[in-house]
C-alpha cells in the first residue's frame, strides 16, 4: 500500500505531510512525557517490524503469500502514539533505503498505514476489546476487527488521495469498489497474523503487552462511532447520487419502465400511514442523514436503558 510520489499531486502531498507532521509532533510530545523513556525499545521494535515484513506466510487456499504490517502489534506494545511514532520511522526508512513509497508522499503513507491503524483502530477497536487475560477467541476478534477497520480506512484514504490528485480517471465510487474488497481480505489476513504473534508472545512473556493497563471504556468507542456516523451522514448526503438504487434500476430494466403502484386497499392504507409518518420523504434534504442518525442513536440508547432496567429488576428479585 506504499504510495509513490507519482500517485499524488503536490498540493495533496503537502496537505498530507502537514497533517502527518502535526501528528508526529504530538507523538513526540507524548513520548517525552512518559516517565520511562522507551527509545531503545522503539528503535529495536522498528527494526523488528522492518525485518518481520521480509518473512512471508502462505495464505491458505489462495496460493499467494503476505506479510505483517505491524501497526496494531506495535501499538499493543508501545501504546497508540509510540506505535505511530515507530511505524512512521519504518515508513521513512523504507522510502530512503528501498525507495518503497515516495519522499513527498511520506505524509500520505504515514496517514494511510500508521495513523489509521495506531491512532484510530487501536484505541477505538482493539484496546476496548482486548485484555491481557482475554480468551483466544476475543483476541482474534479484536485483532481482525481492528485490522479490517485500519485497512479499509487506509484504502479509502488512498482512493481519495489519488482521485483528488487527478491521477486516477476512475470515479471515486468505482475505485472504492475495486479497492475495498481487496483490503478487506488483507485486513483479515493481517488480523489473524497479528493475533497469532500476540498469542505466541503472550504465552512466553505476558508482561510485554501490559504497558497500558488503563482499559479504555467502550463509551469512548461509541462516542467516536457516533461522531463518525454524523460526519458521514452530513457529508455524503451532499454528494449522494440521485440515480435509482441497484434494486430499482434492475426492476426498471426488467419491466422497461417504473413498477406500477399496487391498488389494493391494504397497500393504499399502508401508503397513507407512511405519508403521515415519513418526516423526510425520499431523503429530500441534506439533514436527512443527520436526523436519521440522531433518531437511531436515541432509539438504541432507549432500548439499552430499558434492557438494563429489566436486568436490574431481575437481579433484585
Amino acid at each position: 500500500m506504499h504510495m509513490s510520489d507519482a500517485l499524488v499531486s503536490a498540493p495533496i502531498a503537502l496537505g498530507a505531510d502537514a497533517i502527518a507532521a502535526t501528528l508526529l509532533a504530538i507523538s513526540i510530545r507524548k513520548i517525552y512525557r512518559q516517565e520511562r523513556l522507551s527509545i531503545p525499545l522503539m528503535g529495536v521494535l522498528g527494526a523488528f517490524v522492518f525485518a518481520a515484513q521480509m518473512i512471508n506466510f502462505a495464505i491458505p487456499g489462495t496460493g499467494s503469500s503476505g506479510h505483517i504490517i505491524g501497526g496494531i502489534l506495535l501499538s499493543s506494545m508501545l501504546g497508540a502514539w509510540g506505535g505511530f511514532f515507530t511505524l512512521c520511522s519504518v515508513i521513512v526508512l523504507q522510502c530512503l533505503l528501498f525507495a518503497d513509497g515516495g519522499l513527498l508522499a511520506l505524509g500520505c503513507n504515514a496517514l494511510n498505514m500508521a495513523a489509521f491503524s495506531c491512532l484510530v483502530a487501536y484505541p477505538l477497536i482493539f484496546k476496548p476489546l482486548y485484555r491481557a487475560d482475554c480468551s483466544t477467541l476475543k483476541l482474534f476478534s479484536a485483532s481482525i476487527l481492528a485490522n479490517i477497520a485500519a485497512f479499509l480506512m487506509g484504502a479509502i484514504a488512498v482512493t481519495l488521495e489519488t482521485t483528488l490528485s487527478g491521477v486516477s480517471a476512475l470515479p471515486l465510487g468505482r475505485m472504492l469498489l475495486f479497492m475495498l474488497p481487496i483490503h478487506f481480505v488483507i485486513g483479515i489476513c493481517e488480523g489473524v497474523a497479528t493475533a497469532l504473534v500476540i498469542l505466541f508472545v503472550r504465552r512466553r512473556d505476558p508482561e510485554l503487552f501490559l504497558h497500558d493497563q488503563r482499559q479504555s471504556s467502550p463509551r469512548r468507542t461509541i462516542e467516536a462511532f457516533a461522531i463518525a456516523a454524523f460526519i458521514i451522514a452530513a457529508s455524503f448526503t451532499l454528494v449522494a447520487s440521485s440515480a435509482p438504487d441497484g434494486l430499482e434500476w434492475s426492476i426498471e430494466n426488467v419491466l422497461q419502465g417504473e413498477l406500477p403502484s399496487p391498488t389494493s386497499e391494504l397497500h393504499t392504507s399502508a401508503e397513507l400511514i407512511l405519508q403521515k409518518t415519513a418526516i423526510i420523504p425520499d431523503y429530500n434534504t441534506f439533514l436527512a442523514g443527520i436526523i436519521g442518525c440522531a433518531i437511531l442513536i436515541f432509539a438504541t440508547w432507549l432500548i439499552s436503558l430499558l434492557s438494563k432496567r429489566v436486568r436490574g429488576d431481575e437481579s433484585q428479585s
Partner: protein, 259 residues
C-alpha cells in the same frame, strides 16, 4: 529467501555511508536533500498528458548518476520495485479512459494508456531521484541533513536506531530461517503457525536486545535526553551556487516547452 536477505544486507551496507567519491559528494547533504525535494515537486506539477515532458526529467538524473559515480543501470533496476502498485492505479485509467487520441502502426492508443504510462514513468523517475540522493549521500548524512532542516532530534535518533538495529535483526532473522529451513524443505513462504513462531521468536529476541541496550545506555549515564549531532559543517558559497544552478535547471525544465 536467505539469498534475498543477503541481497538486502548488501544494499543496506551499500547505503551505510553512500558513495563519497565524485564531485557532488563535496556538497552539503542539506543542499542535496532540498534540491531533491524541489526536483520532486517540479516533476509532480507536470500534467499526466505531457508524457514527453515527464521523460525529459530522467536526463538530469542520468547526468547526476555519472557525476556521483553511481551505476545508472542498477538505479533503474532498483526503481522498478515501485511498479506493481502504480500499475494497478494505471490500470484503472486504461479501463476508464477509452478515448482514442492517436494511432501508431495501426494500433489505437487511448487516453488511458497515455495516462498509465505517464504515471509509471513519473513513479520510476521519482524513485530514481530518491535512490540517487541516498546512494550518493548515505543514510547518516541524510539524517544529519533532515535534522538540520528541522526534523525533531528524537525522530532522527529513532531513524538511526532503526537503521542500526535493522542489520542486527536481519542477521537474527537469517539464523531463525536457516534453522526453520533445515527442518523443512526450504520454502519461499511458511504456513501460518510456523510463521507466527518465527515472528514471535524474532520479537522476543528484539525485546531482549532492547533491554540490554537500555541497560548499556543507562550504564553510560544516559538520562533520556536525545544527543544532538555535533555537526561542524556549515553552509558555504558552493552550496548556494549549487542550489541556484539546480533550481534554475528545474525551473527551465518545468516552464520551457520545446514543442
Amino acid at each position: 529467501m536467505s539469498r534475498s536477505l543477503d541481497k538486502i544486507l548488501f544494499e543496506l551496507e551499500q547505503v551505510a555511508q553512500g558513495h563519497s567519491s565524485g564531485l557532488a559528494s563535496t556538497i552539503d547533504p542539506r543542499a542535496r536533500t532540498l534540491v531533491a525535494i524541489i526536483f520532486l515537486f517540479g516533476l509532480l506539477s507536470i500534467s499526466l498528458n505531457d508524457i514527453g515532458r515527464i521523460a525529459i526529467w530522467a536526463l538530469p538524473l542520468i547526468f547526476l548518476a555519472l557525476l556521483c559515480r553511481v551505476n545508472y543501470l542498477s538505479l533503474l533496476s532498483r526503481s522498478l520495485i515501485v511498479l506493481p502498485f502504480v500499475a494497478l492505479i494505471g490500470l484503472f485509467d486504461i479501463l476508464h479512459e477509452r478515448e482514442v487520441v492517436a494511432t501508431l502502426l495501426g494500433i489505437r492508443i487511448t487516453q488511458g494508456w497515455i495516462m498509465a504510462l505517464a504515471i509509471m514513468l513519473r513513479a520510476i523517475i521519482s524513485v530514481q531521484a530518491i535512490l540517487l540522493l541516498i546512494l550518493s549521500t548515505g543514510i547518516n548524512p541524510i539524517c544529519r541533513a533532515l535534522q538540520g532542516l528541522g526534523l525533531p532530534s528524537l525522530f532522527v535518533l529513532q531513524l538511526m536506531m532503526v537503521y542500526r538495529f535493522l542489520i542486527i535483526m536481519i542477521r537474527q532473522l537469517q539464523e531463525l530461517m536457516r534453522a526453520a529451513d533445515s527442518r523443512s524443505a526450504a520454502k519461499s513462504h511458511y504456513p501460518l503457525s510456523l510463521w507466527a513462531h518465527l515472528v514471535g521468536e524474532l520479537l522476543l529476541r528484539a525485546v531482549g536486545r532492547a533491554k540490554v541496550i537500555n541497560q548499556a545506555m543507562k550504564a553510560r549515564l544516559w538520562d533520556g535526553r536525545v544527543p544532538i549531532f555535533n555537526d561542524k559543517s556549515c553552509w558555504r558559497w558552493r552550496e548556494t551556487i549549487f542550489m541556484i544552478l539546480s533550481i534554475t535547471g528545474i525551473a527551465l525544465m518545468r516552464y520551457i516547452n520545446l514543442k
